[in-house]
């Protein structure tokens, strides 16, 4: 076993969760169930310092996300600070609320890339999943972005309910004409974990969508970069979550906690250092949370002797905790995991649920009981 030396890795991306406030109520939001309120959010000058420290640490890009980052009145200043520090600035947004005047200011501050999320191909279903009527506004924002020299990504969040609209979504993307389109299947953490019984697709749905996506990727090559993320419950091997724990990414929450990923606070006993009291460098190098699953010393079998351990790093720690109740277990989605049976039983059980839904169409979609995320004060 080699000693763990944090300096042999440096983070490439800083995920800056500026706020948990958001006008949308998406049923698969990746935010934690307990949302941070406005009064605990980091002040502007702390973000400005954090961005400078990130660049010094070797970070290349800052992804501004939330919640809805547009809810921060100081967003322009924060983006300007990112560019000033030498970072590539990405804004991950629902486009609500955004008018042309504010957008011009954001572009003027040096924004490189805007990623606009879509919940569906049309207003009706999109409204069900976001708990708001915002689809038309998103189309207006996309049209507005196209008039400026910044990159545009459309991000369609996929799940069982909207996989059937994939062709229409691809057509919509072609009509808008971004540089990049992402079909990102919901990953089961946060609100999506709570709503999983209604979100998990069937194997057949998934296979069909993959075929459609591959054709689109081929047809649009050179015009639109097509990327997709599949639900890992159907994978044979786990995803290299975050490119490995504490290897490539650092996430800072609205209140300033520095975490290795979005969901790490579900793991009991983890203590996250706060950027208000420590520098990013010190946290990256020394914080017990970042050290916890770095390297290979923590790995159990079958990971410890597996050839794939340098590829997938044992998969996702949060998923291991959520399903196997042990954050240091092999990711249960791995076909070699002793807990794989648990994932298979979820797929089987939810497959039965889907056939019941199909057999009893008397249940109208409006009766579906979603857990909508609230907008914290």
């Amino acid at each position: 076993m080699q000693p763990i030396n944090a300096r042999s890795f440096h983070p490439l991306a800083l995920i800056a969760e500026l706020t948990h406030r958001c006008p949308l109520h998406c049923v698969y939001c990746s935010n934690p169930l307990e949302l941070a309120r406005r009064e605990v959010e980091l002040p502007t000058d702390t973000w400005v310092r954090v961005l400078r420290e990130a660049a010094e640490l070797g970070v290349m890009q800052a992804d501004f996300t939330g919640g809805e980052p547009l809810a921060r009145p100081d967003l322009v200043e924060i983006i300007r600070a990112a560019r000033g520090a030498g970072l590539y600035a990405s804004l991950i947004t629902s486009g609500i609320p955004l008018d042309e005047k504010r957008f011009e200011e954001i572009v003027g501050a040096g924004l490189d890339h805007l990623q606009l999320s879509f919940q569906g191909a049309e207003e009706e279903s999109a409204s069900e999943y976001s708990g708001t009527r915002t689809h038309a506004q998103k189309l207006r924002v996309a049209g507005c972005v196209k008039r400026y020299r910044i990159a545009l990504t459309l991000n369609f969040v996929m799940h069982r309910g909207n996989l059937g609209q994939l062709e229409e979504m691809i057509a919509l993307a072609e009509e808008i004409g971004p540089q990049r389109v992402e079909f990102a299947h919901v990953q089961y953490y946060g609100w999506a974990f709570a709503n999983r019984p209604r979100l998990l697709p069937t194997r057949m749905q998934l296979d069909r969508s993959l075929e459609t996506l591959k054709k689109a990727e081929e047809r649009l090559r050179g015009r639109i970069r097509v990327e997709y993320v599949l639900p890992d419950y159907y994978s044979k091997f786990p995803k290299a979550c975050m490119g490995g724990w504490g290897r490539k990414v650092m996430l800072v929450t609205p209140r300033g906690d520095a975490m290795p990923c979005h969901a790490a606070n579900v793991i009991p006993g983890m203590k996250f250092e706060n950027v208000q009291t420590q520098s990013l460098r010190r946290i990256w190098d020394n914080s017990p949370a970042f050290q916890k699953f770095r390297g290979e010393d923590w790995m159990p079998e079958p990971c410890r002797s597996c050839d794939r351990r340098a590829q997938d790093f044992g998969g996702c720690r949060c998923q291991a905790f959520l399903m196997a109740k042990d954050a240091a277990a092999t990711d249960p989605v791995c076909s070699l995991s002793p807990h794989r049976g648990f994932v298979d039983s979820i797929i089987l059980e939810e497959g039965r649920e889907i056939s019941r839904e199909i057999k009893t169409p008397a249940m109208p979609p409006s009766k579906v009981e979603w857990f909508y995320r609230p907008n914290p004060a």
């Binding site: 070797g58 290349m60 590539y88 990405s90 020299r149 910044i150 990504t153 540089q179 050179g222 639109i224």
Partner: protein, 96 residues
């Protein structure tokens, strides 16, 4: 997979919106675009610096053939066309 057609020698490649050289002094010589960083070596940096909407593909080839005089000019041409194709597949270029 169908390969993208090689770029037209008379077209002028320009870095696409949101695609630019890195500005972080810790990590120079990299091309940044949405969710991707490409490390640049000497020749790829020379190519990217000329993707400014002013140089034609043909001019880029002629320029680099004069810099890399020890390399077979045909090889230089082929490498440049392949690299521009790769960048286009990443949607890092517009051809004007």
């Amino acid at each position: 997979m169908a390969p993208t057609a090689l770029p037209d020698p008379e077209k002028r490649p320009r870095l696409a919106p949101g695609c630019r050289l890195a500005e972080n002094a810790q990590q120079p010589r990299a091309l940044q675009m949405p969710e991707r960083v490409l490390q640049l070596n000497g020749p790829s940096l020379e190519i990217v610096q000329r993707c400014d909407g002013k140089h034609t593909v043909r001019e880029i080839i002629l320029d680099l053939q004069q810099i890399y005089t020890k390399t077979d000019p045909l090889k230089v041409e082929q490498d440049i066309l392949e690299y521009l194709t790769l960048l286009q597949e990443q949607r890092a270029l517009d051809f004007e």
